[in-house]
Amino acid sequence: MTVQGWMFIILFIALIAAIARPMGAFLFALYDGRPMPLLGPVERGFYRIGGVDPARDQSWRGYAIALLLFNLFGVALLYAVLRLQGVLPFNPQGFGAVSSDLAFNTAISFVTNTNWQSYGGETTLSHFSQMFALTVQNFLSAGTGIAVAFALIRGFARRDTKGIGNFWADMTRATLYLLLPLSIILTIVYIALGVPQTFAASVDATTLEGAKQTLALGPVASQLAIKMLGTNGGGFFNVNSAHPFENPTALTNFIQMLSIFAIGAGLTWTFGKAVGNTRQGWAILGTMLLLFTVGVAITYWAEAGGNPLITHLGVSDTLGNMEGKDVRFGIVASTLFAVVTTAASCGAVIAMHDSFMPLGSLMPLFNMHLGELIIGGVGAGLYGMLLYCLLAVFVAGLMVGRTPEYVGKKIEAREVKLAVLAIASLPLAILGLTALASVTDAGLAGRLNMGPHGFTEILYAFTSAAANNGSAFGGLTANTPFYNGLLALGMFIGRFFVIIPVLAIAGSLAAKRHTPEGAGSFPTTGALWIGLLTAIILIVGGLTFLPALALGPGADQAALMAGFVQ
């Protein structure tokens, strides 16, 4: 580890903290339904076409049904496009139909904001599929996350009402005013920094040695912008942001990392503002950044330490563990990116997590096990964290001698039930499906490595799917009907088995009256609360995965320390 390395990390964290407020303020304007300049007529036009009255509040059931219908329609449409891409336009390389299981997996993947890719983008998908199917879902799945976060915030902020907002309005406003303009700006920035944006298929180049090389091209910059901003993570190229065209410079790399966290960090401020105390939002962001910093420190330490087995061979390893990392980015940026992308459920990668040291790969896994709540996927991070806030308040809140309250709302049986339901869906999907894959031939067949590392490959895949992350560990061959099917199931559970309880909680909270805060109220700001919340997240969310982590990266690390490869 180096001082420069740490300064780089601290600069990044400071910038995220600085972005939170302005981004949060803009998000609050969207949340609050305030009229926006310029695009107002477009927004109203959409409502007119859809026959939607944006001022009409939906009950949580109405909101959930609208959201589910919209997303299922997205799955169907995506599936159709992928299956029919051979006859659709913008297919310069003439790719044929995508296989049914892969199309199904990909459709679920992009609708759930996971962007797990069982395929290589540049060798499987036409430009039409990339732009009109995948990129569109990149916007809409991010919009869905923001909408759910808005609905839950309303649950806390409103009182004595049934309505938690209008899904169509939230969706339209988040996409039209936030995701689209920011993506356009970022696209232009990326183009200026050297990312290709073209409809050409590829160019053939002659290398210095005189060999022929085909360089894949396409509308990369536009997909890159929303891939990061919407924490989607599905790359244009197979190797994602490790590809020099998808991430040409250190600057694009830094911008990409910032844009992954930007909206998630901003939403914490929006929450605080909406419930009338911005310190509540800062406390949540503080908890997120605390967990984040610890994660970065451990990963950085593990990677910078290098591989003792290689050192034993007499090979200098002063750079740290560089296997699977791009020399352009080095240890610091690669580890920071790995933690950012797994904390935020983005899933874009600039290095192969498979090649990380066991402890280094443990952190990204652990981040996802916690349930994408460290900044998290857009929207998902906030509502994931708020679930734990409810749990922490309920467990510890009694200790001050009052029935538990959070930001003025009493937490009772119904909220506890729904929060536990949402939280339990993650271990069910990750551990259940991993167990299934690790005892069946079809599951075992996909591994690249044997032993604990192979186990980690399987665990990582289902973790990435259920946490809606989408990053690949590498190694595992996942484009089989077995994995395509089960991973799609994991992604679906990880997304909608959380969203539905969250909306139900929003409905239940909105109907409650508000208890003003006083000296007797449980303090949910300040260091004590941050420490408590962190402890609950680690004990309830993290400990469950300890056995699996011990048998994967843990066993790997233990073997490494003993001086052999398991």
Binding site: T515, P523, V540, L543, A558
Partner: protein
Amino acid sequence: MAQQAQSLFSRDLVIAAIKGSCVKLDPRTLVRNPVMFTTAVVATLSTALWFGTIAGSEPGKGLFQGQLVLWLWLTVLFGNFAEALAEGRGKAQAASLRATKAELMAKRMLGVGETYEIIPAGQLSVEEIVLVETGDLIPADGEVVWGVASVNEAAITGESAPVIREAGGDRSAVTAGTRVISDSIKVKITAGPGQGFLDRMIALVEGASRQKTPNEIALTILLVGLTIIFLIAVGTLPAFAHYAGGMIAVPVLVALFVTLIPTTISALLSAIGIAGMDRLVRFNVLAKSGRAVEAAGDVDTLLLDKTGTITIGDRQATAFITLPGISERELIEAARLASVADETPEGRSIVALAGEGAPAPAEAITIPFTAQTRVSGVDIGIRQLRKGAVDAVLRLLGDRANKDAVAALRRCTEDIARSGGTPLAVADGDRLLGAVHLKDVIKAGVRERFAELRRMGIRTVMITGDNQLTAAAIAAEAGVDDFLAEATPEQKLDLIRKEQAGGKLVAMCGDGTNDAPALAQSDVGVAMNTGTQAAREAGNMVDLDNDPTKLIEIVGLGKQLLMTRGSLTTFSIANDVAKYFAILPAIFVVLYPGLGVLNVMGLSSPDSAILSAIIFNALIIPALVPLALKGVKYRPASAGALLSRNLSIYGLGGLVAPFVGIKIIDMAVSGLGLA
């Protein structure tokens, strides 16, 4: 009865509780506690497997598995024991109450003249009229419809001073089991057999009619949720072990599962609830539901009656005011003599204010205060010295009083009333001498109490019939946050509604029928036991001591109940960290020897580690029973201070204690060669 504190672990109680914990193994009882029920199910499963082991291929493993089975069952039994002990303490109180009740007989009026028949109280029905004479016990709850009597309610309240019960007005309710010590009254029965106040109290302290409170239900849901999450975590382990080319024995999985699920708090949960109610009963407050006790912890606003709560109920004499033509000496001397034999606080304060003087002559005859005359004094020869409420004295004098003196007295007593005081008139025979100014005196220490409440985030509002000016003066002196002067029942109700509309929970106490709507509207309504039946029905708690100051303690008891529950939940969940680090390495070291590094406690062998964890998990339950029954220490403080205190004791303690405990047990287990 309530004052007799029982030792927590008296021998009889413990023996009864041990019996009770076996009886509670009945699945129909166990199923009410899902986590303990789950534990019992896996204990049954393990027992069956154990029989298979000792009969089958691996008898060598029999000792180890047998011990696991034993400790699994002990875990369940310890949980039952905690609940049985809590109930046992309640039952002991109920038994003494029941003894009073068993011998009650009633004189039922036959409706013809004054004739009655004597029947057992159990045969009475509602609306019947009974006669209760001097020395009789009141047979059932009811309302006085005729007569005035003084009643000793020590059986209920533990307070030996008799109270007046009379027909009409706010002091007409009488309670079964209390004794009439003078005069006779006719009582209309208001509660049928088994429905009376005493019956409800018995059922309540016995825990028979206990229902889970909303907060308890929510907590149970959380505990079940955690159990399901751990079921997933443990249930997937065999597959993972299979991948690693090994297998994990079922008893070991069971041990891991049982130690991880929140058995500690689940075992103690109902004991905590019962003990919380019990503390209230010992404090002579009867809550009609556990919900009310929880609500007490949440109270934001306390409505406090001025008299008795903020000021000393009996006012103190502060000045003598003479009528024209009367010397101050004469007035003081008359007031002093009229009060020498008066043992009430007012009387004594008059004597104290009057200062030294000649004692009452030997021939003096004391005229005591009666409910009818409301005047007291002394007869010395032909002199009749009297003091009492202005109206009462004037009524006594009747037409004999001098008209000018009456007018002068009226004027000066109005002045006294205007300044917030209470006037007493003093007369010598037909002659009015003047008035004594009685003034409210703020109770010692209330100011500090209110400051304490403020730090806890509780607002205090003083309710008084006094005028604005007086009320403001007293409010400022006592340090309450707000006051409601010249309060009518309607205003009281409005105030409660207004507070509640702002999301606040309100507690109040009251005794009169006109308090009933406000008592019913408030979140915690404490009715005085001397109050009317209507008031007692409307409130959700009844204070047997009739002490409105208790409202503050009731809030404390409510908070203590919730704090105990929260602290033990936190402790229980925090324990899991150490248990993981005890059992996981023991399981995994077989699969990957390198994972021995997770054995941070340095436990001697895998079997010993597993056994130690399950033993710790079982033993922690009886170890925490005293805390569950007594409640965690409660000191009024802000929420932040309470949180940091309890979090450092029960949160950090919960993290560290099992590391130490399991290590010690491991040393014992391996030392004894048990594993």
